[in-house]
């Protein structure tokens, strides 16, 4: 694989996807400290939102330590070169949240839907595209669940709504490099040349770095990851590792590797409530194709009802659940407990 001279934009997820393993309890102070360090290390983009996006504060997904408005205001003020993005899932957040986030000073909005449901993003992308300087991104989750042709049709829809960048998102950490290549390559061939193309990986099968390289090789120019891999499931593509590999392969990221390594080791790892790694349950997510943020919900329901979290996750995969269906987990656990007690 020859990637020499390719330039990519790295987008760090610690302060958004990383909210999942932290149960949305990262404080404003912790966010500001990490964001400043990332700014200093030359990380071009960071995402700051509740793990489930703007408006995610809920019983269903968890109430955060501070509001999206408080996080975004503080972080946007703290950084100089780094651009801040917010995530929005239609059905959870609304255009009112989008406007609020723009007022807080974000430079980028990422509107995320399940990979087959791009049309629910119309309202939000159309509005975002009206802001002259706002980077408007469409983000298709659980992209392993459909084939490349169908996926590209959905990506084109996002492009049509006004997205200047679209993402193929491996929310379950299920994809293997060939899955990434066929999707990214077809998208690159079919989308407008000026539309940027991104890949968001999860490390559940430890393929985060390999998949991201495959994406770059196939034509993606934006790559998501998080320092120390702080993210849902086994985490996102571990960014300091990916940056080191990029350096070795001659891919230009513009990031100071040693500074990135120090942030991961000195600021992000100490923040973790548990070591984010490929444990049995995270591996099950990747193996069974389950939305990564279900991890802690399945563990909690398993503990509460005396079940195996792996059994719960496998069943969630079998039922083809999608992102956002966290409420299904306790319901399913109750059904499984009833079935067990009936024997």
């Amino acid at each position: 694989m020859d990637l020499t001279g390719k330039r990519i934009t790295i987008h760090d997820m610690c302060l958004r996807d990383g909210m999942h393993p932290k149960q949305h309890q990262i404080t404003v102070e912790q966010m500001v400290k990490i964001a400043k360090a990332m700014d200093d290390a030359g990380i071009p983009m960071i995402e700051v939102t509740h793990g489930d996006g703007l408006g995610g504060a809920s019983v269903n997904y968890g109430f955060p330590a501070a509001s999206d408005e408080e996080y975004l205001t503080a972080v946007c003020k703290a950084v100089t070169n780094t651009k801040v993005s917010a995530l929005l899932l239609p059905g959870i957040g609304t255009v009112d949240h989008l406007k609020m986030a723009v007022d807080c000073g974000i430079s980028s909005i990422r509107v995320a839907t399940h990979c087959t449901e791009a049309d629910v993003a119309e309202q939000h992308l159309t509005m975002a595209a009206k802001y002259p300087d706002l980077d408007t991104v469409g983000f298709l989750m659980m992209a392993h669940m459909i084939g490349p042709e169908e996926l590209v049709q959905q990506l084109k829809m996002l492009e049509g709504f006004g997205a200047n960048c679209v993402y193929i998102t491996d929310s379950a950490g299920y994809m293997l490099p060939d899955d990434v290549i066929e999707r990214v390559a077809l998208a690159r061939a079919e989308l407008r040349p000026e539309t940027e193309l991104g890949f968001h990986g999860h490390h559940n099968l430890a393929m985060g770095v390999a998949n991201s390289l495959a994406a770059v090789d196939a034509g993606a120019n934006r790559i998501d990851g998080s320092l120390a891999g702080l993210g849902a499931g086994a985490g996102n593509t571990p960014l300091e590792v990916f940056i080191a590999v990029c350096d070795r392969m001659g891919v230009e990221t513009g990031i100071d590797l040693f500074k990135a390594m120090d942030i991961a080791e000195d600021l992000v790892v100490p923040l973790m409530d548990h070591i984010v790694r490929v444990d049995r349950d995270a591996l099950t997510l990747g193996y069974a194709g389950v939305y990564s943020s279900f991890l802690l919900f399945a563990k909690r329901s398993a503990d509460k009802y005396g079940l195996s979290s792996r059994d719960i996750l496998v069943e969630l995969g079998r039922r083809r659940t999608v992102g956002g269906q966290e409420d299904m987990i306790e319901d399913l656990a109750l059904d499984m407990a009833k079935a067990r007690d009936a024997v």
């Binding site: 269903n60 059905g91 009112d96 299904m328 306790e330 109750l334």
Partner: protein
């Protein structure tokens, strides 16, 4: 038959047609008009086959003869964008408007919770909230009638096939209108609504989760009894309204897990979300019709 109140359905799509099938069985409502905007619409042809007068000229096509045809109740199954105009026109002809769009210009009506008040208020426009609202607000109310609910949150999961273009284009209307209904009709101090669309095949039956946070420690026995009583009330018009699990109590959190299977009249059974709307709309119209037939309510031109 003279002992039925005549009705018009505006919007010959899935909702309007399902409503028509249900209304044909009603003992007090007689559908006489189906109003559309597309002459080639299969819904108009179907209504015509069933003996209704039809027009593809929108509400304007029905207005000239509407009063003469005795239409006293109209259902709007179009979209929030055109609802206000439709409502103004039929109200001017002395017909009550039952609004199945999320426009919400009239008071909310969730039959087992506030139908009597809505009809007693003799409003000329009444809004059916949203499908998610019809499926969940009764349960928020079942908790809030026992004790104060500081926060009510619902998650509605519907199959991709049952989420129509109107819902998709304007998904924010769903979350806003439902959240407002959770507060105004459900009785929660603040409300939040989430909708998830799932494309699995075969399509999943509508699922709804209701989370309430009570101000004081929940009275488990009283809430459980109230939830079961409410279940029976909703099942009177939506037999497939099923309590799957709960109420589950965890500190001040009360969680209720529901599934809504439709009757399968015109829409498939998995589309309980659409069925509960048409069933609730018809039930509301029937209450108005009973008042009209008893002479206790005379819809007048506004």
């Amino acid at each position: 038959m003279s002992d039925k109140v005549k009705a018009a359905i505006i919007g010959p799509g899935n909702i309007g047609t399902d409503l028509l099938v249900k209304a044909m069985r009603s003992e007090v409502i007689q559908p006489v008009w189906m109003v559309g905007v597309d002459a080639d619409s299969p819904g108009l042809a179907r209504a015509s086959d069933m003996g209704l007068k039809t027009t593809a000229e929108g509400v304007d096509g029905m207005l000239p003869t509407m009063a003469e045809d005795g239409v006293q109740v109209c259902f709007d199954a179009t979209s929030a964008y055109v609802h206000a105009e439709n409502s103004r026109k039929v109200n001017a002809q002395g017909a009550v408007m039952i609004d199945l769009t999320p426009a919400a210009i009239g008071p909310f009506c969730v039959p087992p919770v506030n139908l009597n008040e809505a009809v007693a208020a003799k409003a000329m426009n009444v809004n059916m909230v949203t499908c998610g609202g019809q499926a969940t607000i009764p349960m928020v109310a079942a908790v809030s009638r026992i004790q104060s609910v500081s926060y009510g949150e619902i998650v509605a999961t519907v199959s991709s096939k049952s989420a129509g273009p109107g819902t998709r284009k304007n998904i924010d209307e769903f979350t806003r209108t439902t959240a407002s209904g959770i507060e105004k009709v459900g009785g929660a101090k603040s409300g939040k609504a989430i909708i998830v669309i799932n494309p699995a095949e075969p399509p999943l039956i509508m699922r709804d989760t209701i989370h309430c946070l009570t101000v004081d420690e929940p009275d488990q026995a009283a809430i459980t009894e109230s939830v079961h009583e409410m279940l029976i009330e909703v099942q009177k018009y939506v037999p497939g309204y099923v309590l799957k699990n709960g109420p589950v109590f965890d500190g001040n959190r009360v969680s209720i897990y529901m599934e809504v299977e439709g009757l399968g009249d015109f829409l498939p059974k998995y589309a309980g979300n659409l069925d509960i709307m048409t069933a609730a709309g018809l039930r509301t119209a029937e209450m108005y019709a009973q008042e009209i037939l008893a002479g206790t309510f005379v819809p007048s031109m506004v």
